[in-house]
Amino acid sequence: MVEKQSSVKGLGPGFWPFTAFLALLAIANSYFWAVTPLSRWMPTAVTVATEIDELFRVFLAVGISLFIFILGYAVFFSISFRARKDDPPDALGVQIHDNHKLELWWTVIPTIAVILISWASVRVWFPIQIASASTPAGLVVESIGHQWFYTFRYPGINGEVTGNMHLPVGEPVTLNVTSEDVIHSFWVPAMRLKQDMVPGLVNVMRFTTDRVGRYRIICTEFCGVNHGLMNKQRLIIEPKAQYEAWYHHWQIKNATASNALPQISSAPIDLSDGSAAAGQVLFTQKCSACHAIGPFSQRIVGPGLKGVLHDPAHPNLLSGKPATPANVADILQHGLQGSYGQMPTQVQNALTDKDIANLVAYLNSLK
């Protein structure tokens, strides 16, 4: 049974005026995002945040404009091509199956859009994630996630800093993050950056602070019953002088008896009877965040340690001394402030003398 077909003149009544209306809305939307900085809703505290915001605004302009057309046409076609009450019951729509030219265009144009979005994203992505690795590290700071608070480590300050995190304004910073227990995340919305704090890994964030202020630090990775409360600490970006004062305060605070960690023993450690197997477990727990078992050049924070005690080509230790078990133990005991950052002391790493013996035995077993 052949049913009657309907026909449509052009693209239907009102199509072009309506398209013009949608285009106007889209242009207004794009203009709005072009002129409205997102810092109106969330400040930007670091230089890269402004670039990320620009990318956001491009997506908002393009994405919402696209949605305007999708919603617009869906509603318009639904209304304008609705079956009327006086239509015969077997009335049909236009029996077209496809239109190769149209389909080609609406494949090509989104493909070009994908290429453009990719380029726009890579443009912002590359400096943040790749190029930053070869720029000067600046101030190297650590944050450690705990259930349910952050602690911080600064070069030259013993132990850990609690409470708010301070940074000087206008300076490059390298922030290494890890966790002591479960996965947390370190997010400062004003930075537009976050990295997960994964136990056993050290993740890195590199940025340059550029706006004084107090900014929330928020955990965004479920970490237990008080995950929703892990947002009380602030990142305080302040002028250099005030930062120095805060820094000094913590240096002193962590050096006094009530807050100080126990003293490092002065005698060299007895390295006989070290267990390499126990040393490997310790290494994974305490060292693998910063050192890989790999060649010297395979650096996470400190150098790779596979060949440290057996590779004749291995350079001297960063303390300047030859790589012997006793000299390695010495670094584990006393720590080292060197060009790569701070190697914590035995006390900061909570290593007993026996632990050091085990670690040295483990390093000695790597061939």
Partner: protein, 208 residues
């Protein structure tokens, strides 16, 4: 609507000597069985990925305190298993050519070699556990990955040994004919799959 109930006759399926119903359902079952084997490959692949990922994450290998695995012993055990693959192949070929006795002999040889392989694995496990002190849960990621993967494989071999024994008994009871023997085909495919998995496991645990 009356529904007549006629007794089923194979003749109504057969045209020109071909049982269409059997051929079509065999096609379905073969395709389904191959998809099943493929998904089993994916299961092994997920653990193989886990092993390679963990091994690659900066650890020394084998970890200190753990001796290198006994490649020679495992190589002999592999020969046993691959040999059983050959005997399985001959079993199916002999069935297709109607040589029941040779088929049965080859199938029994396959089962025996499969059991021998499992015995070899049992020996290796007890040696690792009691002599080398390597355990499933207590030897870090080495014990975890080695025992999990070879254990999964051994489980598949054990299931295969049972399956082949069932096939042998079924064939003795006349379940399969010269033209209809899909169970034997499936058994052969399964056994070869178990062999191929072992090739991969042997390479990644013993050779690299």
């Amino acid at each position: 609507m009356a529904v007549a109930s006629l007794p089923h006759q194979h003749a109504e399926h057969t045209e020109g000597g071909v049982d269409r119903f059997y051929e079509e359902t065999r096609d379905l079952r073969l395709t389904g069985f191959l998809f099943f084997l493929f998904s089993d490959v994916v299961l092994f692949s997920s653990f193989i990925f886990a092993y390679l990922y963990l091994r690659n994450s900066g650890q020394s290998w084998p970890p200190p305190g753990i001796a290198r695995l006994d490649v020679a012993f495992a190589a002999w055990n592999s020969v046993v298993l691959f040999g059983s693959g050959a005997t399985m192949h001959y079993a199916l070929e002999n069935w297709k050519h109607g040589n029941f006795n040779k088929y049965a002999g080859s199938l029994i040889a396959t089962i025996v070699l499969g059991i021998a392989f499992l015995g070899g694995q049992a020996y290796e496990y007890t040696h690792l556990y009691f002599v080398d002190k390597v355990s499933w849960a207590g030897s870090g990621i080495f014990g975890a990955s080695f025992f999990t993967l070879t254990g999964m494989h051994g489980f598949h071999v054990a299931v295969g040994v049972v399956y082949l024994t069932v096939l042998l008994l079924q064939s003795i009871h006349g379940v399969y004919t010269k033209d209809k023997y899909f169970g034997l085909t499936a058994g052969t495919l399964y056994w070869h799959f178990v062999d191929i998995i072992w090739v991969v496991l042997f390479s990644i645990f013993y050779l690299i």
